[in-house]
Subunit: 302 residues, 4 copies
């Protein structure tokens, strides 16, 4: 048993997080998460970032893009909404800070859609639709995985802050396992009604399972940072299960408690029973809004 130590008052982010590691509760977990992420970044060959929640509209698209450009992760699994809102900005739209008191019926009347304390404008979605059509104009006939399509798009973007572009130029694979559950998916679906290309997710499943089998064969280390739960978390973890290659390192940032039984709040210990996370490996869960935990972890890692 080691002593709880007094938190150090410091202006340095990394030092602050390191000091948290010797306190308690979620501060301690945040400190421990940093240690585990250092292993992920430095030792692992497959480094997965699973990202649910409204990360790109809320001001964190560049931060995550930077994490990919620094090669901290080489696979990103996320929601269609996160890709949609990244593209919305890349194509010239924006997200706006609004007070919670705004009336939703009035917002509707003004063509403004609300994400908690963020506003997105219908006109920006229309711009997205128009630009996306242009970008996808020369896609060849065929069947595409979501990561192939997203790479195609990313390589055509010029917005340096774009997550999708950062992934494309860094070689990070971006998978959207519930592709048609998003405005991006709906736009692509709409386009493909009159075109001869199709986007299917079974190809993404093939890719990720093969990647895991490859790690298993090589006995390479694998690590994952899970932000939020949902499909991205499950899709990432099930690939480890299928390949029989549990993640050696795993960090989870969530605010979902385990006691309601859902997958999003499921502990990483529970994942050990499934063979998704290595029993002898290292894992930790931080209960904190990602908007606070991610900047701390990534600033400390940088």
């Amino acid at each position: 048993m080691e002593l709880v130590e007094d938190l150090e008052l410091t202006s340095d982010v990394k030092r602050l997080v390191k000091s948290m590691a010797k306190t308690s509760f979620n501060a301690r977990r945040l400190g421990e998460a940093l240690e585990i992420l250092e292993h992920v970044v430095n030792e692992c060959e497959l480094r997965v970032l699973s990202l649910a929640g409204a990360v790109t509209p809320s001001g964190f698209r560049r931060l995550v893009g930077e994490a990919l450009r620094r090669r901290w992760f080489n696979v990103l699994i996320t929601t269609g909404a996160n890709i949609t809102h990244d593209l919305l900005v890349a194509f010239g739209g924006g997200h706006y800070r609004i007070p919670l008191e705004f009336d939703d019926r009035l917002l509707k009347g003004h063509g403004v859609c609300r994400i908690y304390d963020i506003a997105a404008r219908v006109q920006d979605f229309e711009l997205l639709e128009k630009e996306l059509r242009l970008v996808l104009e020369d896609v060849k006939d065929g069947v595409y995985s979501t990561h192939e399509l997203i790479k195609l798009i990313g390589l055509k973007l010029r917005d340096e802050g774009s997550l999708v572009r950062s992934a494309a130029v860094s070689g990070a694979v971006v998978i959207v396992p519930a592709f048609y559950d998003s405005i991006l998916g709906v736009q692509v679906w709409s386009l493909t009604q009159t075109r001869n290309f199709r986007v299917v997710e079974d190809l993404d499943l093939s890719f990720l399972i093969n990647a895991q089998f490859d790690m298993k064969k090589k006995r390479a280390k694998t690590g994952i940072l899970i932000v939020g739960g949902g499909v991205p978390k499950n899709f990432a973890l099930q690939s480890a299960l299928v390949a029989g290659k549990p993640f050696d390192y795993a960090v989870q940032i969530t605010i979902d408690p385990p006691h309601y039984g859902g997958l999003s709040g499921a502990t990483l210990s529970e994942a050990v029973s499934w063979g998704k996370v290595e029993g002898g490996g290292r894992h930790c869960t931080v209960y904190c809004d990602f908007t606070i935990a991610l900047p701390l972890l990534f600033s400390a890692l940088a």
Copy 2:
């Protein structure tokens, strides 16, 4: 302003929920949810049940199946896991009640996978794989939506408690928008590597958007019960957005608060700004574990 009334001590479930409507906090919301669901069941032509969370392994597959057999809902949108665990039982497997204290590494060693306080055995997953191969043996070549495939399976089941079978015999459409994010999806993916059929979700998107357009044309009422958040919630709501036909009635059962900004916890008021829920309609959110709220609502509705 009406008076808060004293809750009535009664042995009758419906009377208890009706009495809750005149109290406060989530009891009041539960009472209000019952009123709205009565409208959904009695007035709406499109009646969607969106279901995230571990509903079928936890003892609620027959309850939900009963809701479909009674035609309370005619579209079910859910996770692949809920279909997987329904089939696991339909094919002869089972789920077991276990204490939380069990060691996950030992469970792994014994071929037992944990879902909070439930155990599922690896051997039952193997049985599922074997039986599923038989069931899908005569599937003809072609491209299938998830709801077509699930109907095919449901019609072949004999387990009366099965949710999938109940849907099939009741004509309820079952959509799994993140199909490959589940053991069922992995099994189908594995089969289709050597077969000439493919399961794609864009066809489900077409189906649901068309159904919504149809409702719009007819000026028919639409209603939804959202249990948990995730992809099922978003997929259901986005179809209303795309078709320009907001849901007239909406009830949400969740434990996710809105203030972390994720879609799962997003309020139904926020959904009004997107055109997913009707501004002049009725909606309410109950913050409660579905394992408690669903039995109360469904018993009171029955």
Copy 3:
């Protein structure tokens, strides 16, 4: 390992809760809580109800009063606010159901105070003040515990729905460990500035610790139902610790998760390490709004 069983659709509350016991997550815990409470009510000599949260303004004062009249509990530990709002009604005031959208600045202007979706009127607080002065007019000089003062008040009330009156006529002891943290406390404080009586909580501490020592001497069983956390929970549990007589049976209804480290969310297993709950005893925590869980448990117990 016993099988998870299908929840039974039934109109009978007790049967529903008993059926929940064979399912999972918080429904299972609710079923287990009922079993433990049956032991508390039937076997325990000291039966404590610890009550935090806005129980009396929200429509549950009569329900809890009924639990005391039926002798399910003989000690109630609660907040001053719960006594205040019970008296507010007993003296002729009321609580009102309001929508969440009301503007708090306007409410302030109209002399209306909000408790989430409940309104209380300033004029009713003034009525409370006036009536309380009358009730306490003939209190003799001296030093009183909170439970003595509350009994004095309860015996003078005529409102049959009153929790305070129900306690007084049933012989249940009502302790308010943070007495001056309430409008009732402020009113008494105001009165005692010009009177010669004083209310002190160390006498309540004496009473409860002695009661626990008594149980220990007699080797009698003790049980507790903890609703919400806060001071009532800690005050109840610390008496067990001080007397060296851990509770044999304990049920906790809360929505606070353990992982933020606060006492309100602390598990009953943690309480075992302190000697507050018996290691070999039975305990369970239900994560649910009390407005839903209490009516179910009390209706099933009745």
Copy 4:
């Protein structure tokens, strides 16, 4: 409507928190909280820190002590447990970091009490008892408020890291409104059985209400930082209500959502309806574990 801006990756804590203010969700609130706290520290004459949760055992006693030494706050309202665990260390004991897996029955057998992931030893509580007797040996007969007693103790301590000592030497008033709900309270209660001094909280109520009346008379600004909810929060806010002097600035750090109706999760907007917080003032709530939010805010303030 201002644009959501990209979070800046920086090693400087203050700059990071300032950058968060232009993003979304709880990061934005944390940034806003910093702005409001700057007003509290610089403009307010009454500066209250309300502190629930296990702050002193978890590694944050020196941090809070530092906040008092810097005069950021001149009144601290907290739980008896926080004073107890501060004294436990000041008298030579310690708190230990432990894994969550430890068995609570075994811990009990080893004389170790658990607070989530912290251990405290029974022998250190015995040391506390012994030392406290010495410290209180020469307390004169009479009736004491909790803040007078705590000051007496603080002035006798030599541990520079002690929160109680820091308060005493800085002139900050420390109020414990539920004094007898703690091991400290029990020890004092035990001592006073054979002594002629008594600790009563009505004197603390007098002090705080008078302080508020004083602010009102002077038209001085008042501000509050509420960490966690419970009795400290309510006791602080009710003093504003009683004196008719709502707080001009208020920040709340909590993880309790409002929708369960309890005081701990109640919004500061709701407090406006009661006259506890100024309608035209500035207030904000950050949903975050205090172990993460406090170090960020205090490091940025420093």
